[in-house]
Amino acid sequence: MTEITLFGRGGQGGVTLAKLVATTYFLRGKYVQAFGVYAAERSGAPIQAYVRISDEEITVHNQVRAPKHIIVLDRTLIGPHMLAGLRTDGWVILNTSEAPEAYAEVFRGRRVATIDATRIAVENGLGTKTVPIVNTTLLGAVARVYGLEVTDIEAALEEMKFGGGNVPAAKTAFDQVRMVELPGQPIVPVAGEGDERVLSLLDERLVGDEPTIHTGSWASRVPDRHELEPPCNHSCPAGNDVQGFIQALAKDKVDEALAILLKTTPFPGTCGRVCPAPCMDACNRNEYDAGINVRELERYTADHGKLPLPTKPHRKQPIAVVGSGPAGLAATYHLARLGYPVTLFEAGGELGGVMRTGIPAYRLPREILDREISFILRHGVTVRTGARVDRQRLLGLTNEFAATFVATGLQELRALNLGNLEPEFVEQGIDFLDHVRRGERALRGLDVVVVGGGNTAMDAARSARRVGAASVRVVYRRTRKEMPAIAEEIDEALAEGIQLHELVLPLEVRRNGSKPLLVCQRMKLGEPDESGRARPVPDTGPDAQFDLPCDRVILALGQSHDLSILPEGAEMHSEDGSVLLGLSGSPVLAGGDFATNEGTVTAAVGNGKRAAWHIHRTLTGEDLFPPPAKPLAAPEEISMHVFSRVPREEGVEMPPELRRRSFAEVRLGLVDDPGHRPALVEANRCFSCGVCNQCDRCVSYCPEGVLVRDGVGQYRFDYDYCKGCGVCSSQCPRGVIFMKDL
């Protein structure tokens, strides 16, 4: 008589495999017996089943204690306990992806066959991921090892009514099983006696002891934690910890939120108003209801948080920064915070660069900008205004300073030849905005055309409205979708009565009596260009050209950098996002739009920060650059179903009829009311993608109570007991908990 013991887990199909093996031999005319040991254990718990095969009637009904063969359905069960009573003349069949040799120690001197039945079963759609049903697959391996034929498998499966993926799975296993006779002397363990206490209901020692079952042995997968990169952080050009500051806000800790922002940017108040906020486009909550209003939260933080006391320089190496735009100021700030004495050179009379000259006050009030610049300067910064740095001076700086950062921005304005016109008829947008700022422009009763689709175009159009223009038209050669301007700003402009003419290219200005006419060409979108946007091409249909009557044309076509400051032979090469100029003296870096032309305050801020880190690393060897980014927290990592739908807090803005005539700030932001704190509500909408915020949901939802938090942020899985159900991973709202195979 041949006796076989099977080791499996409840629900895995071990008893059924015993029946399948028995059926195979029954169909060959043998007497067989198959049975399982039934107890209290459930799905996932280790169980045993037995098979007997004989030429005569089987009259033994005891458990098998000295099997010839064993079959192990789950590799996590494999251990020396399986050797108890095991004869040495049979086969050990293991469901594992490993080769038999991997078990050379435990099954020394025995014949071992391995088959990756789990993979084959999953590939054939048998069972669930947590509990794959491997029995029919294993039958294939068993048949091969015991010297049976494929037809035997087919007959047994048919007899037990297993169709579908079961037959191909079994055949695959038949072909793929690996059989080896392991070298060495087999281990034959000596049976030991259990020392279990037998207590009656009336025993005084009966106190309700804890279970001795370590249910961790049931698990084939266990949870673990990892942090992922939130898409907002990933997309922030300034490198802000967006998730971090919003989570602080969510706990109503606005000062903490500000401190988090100030680690990476001195301009939360400015960026909280003018940033195009790629983080908001990247926000995973867009996939659910509406993305987080990060810009308004950043602004709220800047406007409500308490600024810390500025640090003072304590290092010896002086640093020069040339240009006081966002990149220069950001570099100044980070260097000053690192303790360097910084001297800031600005050619003009005021600091702020494009933030001051190019962005109208109704978007960025001067006091906000002044406050943020002042905070930077209070870190012990020396300011030299009216100090234009030319090629020669730059070379001088490399001798006076330990390092120099050049961020003079974009000086060259792109133009459009519209014909020979009086100078005041066509004006560059940047100049126009600067004049408006100084109160030097009034366009009362005039019809104005603004050419361009960026923020400067919008700013110019809306400013023209505010200085009295009768009508303002924006003409753009592509469509609104391709416009680089912030979407909200376009909306606000339209609300203020500005007209947008899409797919229009101005050709020339003609005089028709006293009223000039702008001759325009209708365009259509063609193939994408190198920037990925559709290239506008002239429309050839009738009426493809038309006239727009106008009194003023404002050009906002973008800018390019003026490289005249660079000494001859200076070679620019990029490193860690900074551009190095290969000069002979101390290191010179270039950044901001001057070097990158990224075109936003936020990008410039990030650029300035990286330049500061670069300089610091060059001078001290200390590396402040963050480690390589973690994997991105993609939308599918987020358990969105655990969140309630909550409408986005949009913040308050001034009504269009009031703001058309005023340079007062249009947006008032998230305004606290006694009964409603929109910033708090909005911050609490944040999924905190990929970053644990100690919500404790995993703890609350662990069915076994084996996931505990010992202190703030310290979570512990008790793997001795965790059954690997994975509920914690599915309930973790932010993808921090994942299941790993054992």
Partner: protein
């Protein structure tokens, strides 16, 4: 102590109530109760008692009646109930539970024939159905025996050497509904006789035991062995309970096997409940005629104290057993068990007589016929039916 003319049911209900009330300084008492003829008057009597610390819960079934007793007993209270016939049958799994949980619950089983066909009169098919449940079984022949058996029942059940439930049986109608003269105890006496119940395994938050948690074969053997050991200690505890009974109540209950006229008897008859009283009257008459006949009244059937039984039978050559019950395919239950008890100890002739099934009136004439048969019998045969008059 007051001599009173009351029904058996009243006597039982009254005594149970005093037993419950006497635990008022401890955890009190609780009753799960459900009516069934001929037991109903017992729970009505209990319902009318105003407990200082106790409650009767009138439930929806006998199954729940016992379940309430089990819950109450595990919570530490003195718990008791009463039932009959199909009520006991419906209760069975919980009767087992009370036994297996080692709970000192006392239940009166007013013997009634199991139906269908429906029959309200006495036989012992109901209480004997419960013989393997782990309950001690006392059988009370008449009113005073009943009162005393109930008092002994609580004493034995709650003794820490025992901790098993006790069933006290009496004949339906013949005792339950018959008015008789009886000495009823006073509360003060009961309080003196019954110590406060201290259930060692009652539910305690400091020891979160799962009562009834799963046991494997080995533990189950151990558990059952504990019950057997407890049963083995009952004779000793019963003797003590009887010893201490007299100083309190002024009378002495008889023990497990009450033998009369057996010292020189060649023929001994064994009977239970009211039949044993009739039998005694008949034997007394026949003794006057010089017949060497004796008798044993089985007052306790679980545990069956075999050596006491054998001692009581003494040198007799013939034993006749009156079974008011039947195990189809076997015979009388008492007969089978007593035969087994004598196995290997004696070659005495043992003959079974099935009599009074379904509540038939077992008259002296019938018993005389039985004795006439027995005294001339040379060899035992299969159980003999003695039909009663229509």
């Amino acid at each position: 102590m007051a001599r009173a003319l009351v029904t058996g049911n009243y006597a039982a209900g009254y005594t149970l109530s005093l037993a419950g009330e006497s635990n008022r300084e401890a955890m009190g008492c609780a009753v799960g109760a459900y009516p069934i003829t001929p037991q109903t008057e017992i729970i009505e009597t209990v319902a009318a008692y105003k407990f200082s610390k106790g409650r009767m819960v009138a439930v929806e079934s006998e199954h729940s009646a016992m379940a309430v007793c089990i819950g109450a007993s595990l919570a530490g209270a003195r718990a008791f109930t009463a039932s009959s016939s199909n009520g006991l049958a419906y209760m069975v799994e919980n009767v087992y539970m009370a036994g297996f949980y080692r709970l000192p619950i006392v239940m009166i089983a007013v013997n009634r024939t199991l139906g269908p066909p429906w029959n309200i009169w006495t036989d012992q098919s109901d209480s004997l159905m419960l013989r393997d449940t782990g309950w001690i079984q006392l059988y009370a022949a008449a009113h005073q025996d009943l009162v005393d058996a109930i008092l002994l029942a609580f004493r034995i059940a709650e003794d820490h050497r025992v901790l098993l439930p006790v069933l006290v049986s009496m004949d339906g109608f013949l005792v339950s509904h018959t008015s008789g003269v009886v000495e009823l105890p006073e509360l003060e006496q009961v309080e003196r006789y019954l110590p406060n119940l201290d259930l060692p395994h009652r539910l305690r938050h400091e020891h979160p035991v799962t009562v009834g948690g799963m046991t494997f074969p080995h533990e189950t053997e151990h558990h059952r062995k504990g019950m057997i050991d407890a049963m083995d200690r009952v004779p000793e505890v019963l003797r003590e309970a009887i010893e201490e009974f007299e100083p309190v109540f002024g009378r002495r209950p008889r023990g497990a096997m009450a033998a009369d006229f057996t010292e020189d008897a060649e023929t001994v008859l064994i009977a239970c409940n009211t039949m044993s009283r009739t039998l005694k009257n008949v034997i007394r008459e026949r003794r006057k005629r010089g017949e060497k006949i004796g008798m044993i009244e089985t007052r306790m059937f679980r545990p069956l104290i075999e050596d006491e039984l054998r001692a009581a039978i003494g040198p007799a050559k013939r034993v006749g057993i009156l079974d008011r019950n039947i195990s189809p395919g076997s015979g009388g239950v008492f007969w089978r068990e007593i035969t087994s008890a004598l196995q290997g100890h004696s070659d005495v002739l043992v003959q079974d007589y099935l009599v009074g099934l379904g509540g038939g009136d077992v008259t002296p004439a019938i018993i005389n016929e039985i004795i006439d048969d027995l005294v001339t019998r040379k060899r035992a045969v299969a159980p003999i039916w003695k039909e009663v008059a229509a």
